[in-house]
Symmetry: C2
Subunit: 292 residues, 2 copies
């Protein structure tokens, strides 16, 4: 079994982007982060993204808004960043407080600055196989892991576990597109699927994104399967100082014994998300210069 | 085997819409057709749509542009209809001449008048399961046929043959959505799929949309399958005055012997397309009135 090292692959993408950005004379790409409230996880995610941006040579700007910010004030901030020609990418860190509609907020970001790929127009472009759009970072990272691990997709059966808007569906659309990596036969399964093991056992490539710890067991896969585990679940572990540890949606030991390739959790899909955000930002920057 | 009578189902939708429109006092819904060139098939399709609109009480307007129309002149016409508050729906009859980009043209139509459901934003909304968008008429018609024939979809395995932007992909997205009809396990197959019969034989519901005459044979399906045949293919038939007849993507006789439900060709999905266009137009009209 070949372990797919998400940290190493993310690192090589970050290095490629650093070289790209270094080669640019004059202006820097700029990514703007909007963080609402003081959720510790959000603070930590945004800090990590800022650090990676800085390493690459992307200027990052952080806009912090209070938890009780009005929709109007949030949208004014987005509009100002939309209008600012120096800003190439805008990321609004989820989750947003309950009084703010996330879809409406993500759609407020101009599609050509929507480096998170959450704008409805970018989702439509993904469906239409229009490469000018931005693909959401997690599904984009999954595809990149598959490609850089030399896993063939053409004509193979990809089974996607989970039908979320931000992972399952876009990953399925990417795998079925008329291009590589893609050209796969794709099955999407979910909580309503009957006799799930009979379907997952057909998978040449299994993408698990249902958020249930160790859900995929050894008897649910066939020998030689390549497994991309998108789940990041906390389970209690008294042996850890924190009292918990992170596990994926796949029972690692049991499935690793049969798989050809497999991502670990943590260290698989996770690090790719930040790398793909940076890639989208550099692309947004390049697109803005080619127009100007 | 229960034959799914697309003509009868389309007729009942048209009658429902007629009652809806009759109940409206004062203004009528208006649909505008743009037809470029004099392609006989396009002339016939638009005439059929106009006739159905008139039956329902929808006012239809036809704008004929020459085959060599400039993109600017076509877009001016679209813009004028976008700006005309009396116009609820705009349909640009495909195919367009080679010098005009179809995606760009469909995207010129305002999303809230895009009764054909081809605008990128409406495709994104379909993916996001946002019911405020318009679904393209053929996949919407497929879902309606399934629902009105009492075919259950929840937890069942839907196999879609074909991954086109206008049929295969939207039909797959509709069947996997978290609502009914939907909640199905969905597999999308296409020209690159290996060992296709082993997959089509798993189908509880088979949607064939690949445009290859009589492609699905009896040994490719299991007993009890419900079959929606989207193909409309001309094959030579010297016994016909025209010299040809229309057949679907499915070998009707052989598959009918095993199926629980099946659409004929012609008279299955075809008539539904016009009915769904009218339904979208009435919806656009109602939405415009609820805003005003």
């Amino acid at each position: 079994m070949k372990l797919i090292d998400g940290n190493a692959i993310a690192e090589s993408i970050i290095e490629e982007l650093t070289l790209n950005v270094c080669a640019i004379q004059g202006v820097r790409p700029v990514v703007a982060f909007i963080r609402v409230g003081e959720d510790p996880a959000s603070i930590s995610y945004v800090r990590k993204k800022q650090k990676t941006a800085e390493r690459i040579g992307i200027e990052s700007r952080l806009y912090r808004l209070p938890e009780d910010v009005s929709k109007a004030a949030l949208f004014d901030q987005i509009d100002a960043l939309n209008a600012d020609e120096a800003v190439n990418g805008i990321l609004i860190q989820a989750p947003l407080p309950g009084h703010i509609d996330e879809t409406e907020t993500f759609n407020r970001v101009l599609p050509n600055k929507d480096v998170d790929g959450f704008n409805t127009l970018n989702i439509g472009k993904l469906c239409q196989e229009d490469a000018s759009g931005f693909v959401a970072c997690t599904p984009a990272g999954i595809v990149e892991l598959i490609e850089r691990s030399g896993i063939e997709t053409e004509g193979r059966h990809v089974v996607v576990l989970g039908r979320s808007q931000i992972v399952g569906k876009p990953a399925a659309l990417l795998m079925m597109r008329k291009a590589l990596p893609g050209n796969a036969t794709v099955t999407v399964c979910h909580s309503r699927t009957k006799d799930l093991p009979s379907i997952t056992r057909q998978a040449d490539i299994l993408i698990a994104a249902i958020g249930r710890p160790n859900f995929v067991t050894g008897d649910m896969v066939k020998a030689g399967v390549a497994v991309i585990d998108v789940g990041i679940n906390r389970i209690t572990d008294s042996s850890k100082k924190s009292g918990y540890r992170l596990v994926g949606d796949v029972d690692f030991e049991a499935v690793a014994a049969k798989a050809s390739h497999m991502t670990p959790v943590p260290g698989g899909v996770g690090p790719m998300t930040v790398a793909m955000l940076m890639q989208n930002t550099v692309r947004a920057f390049q697109a803005s210069r080619s127009i100007a």
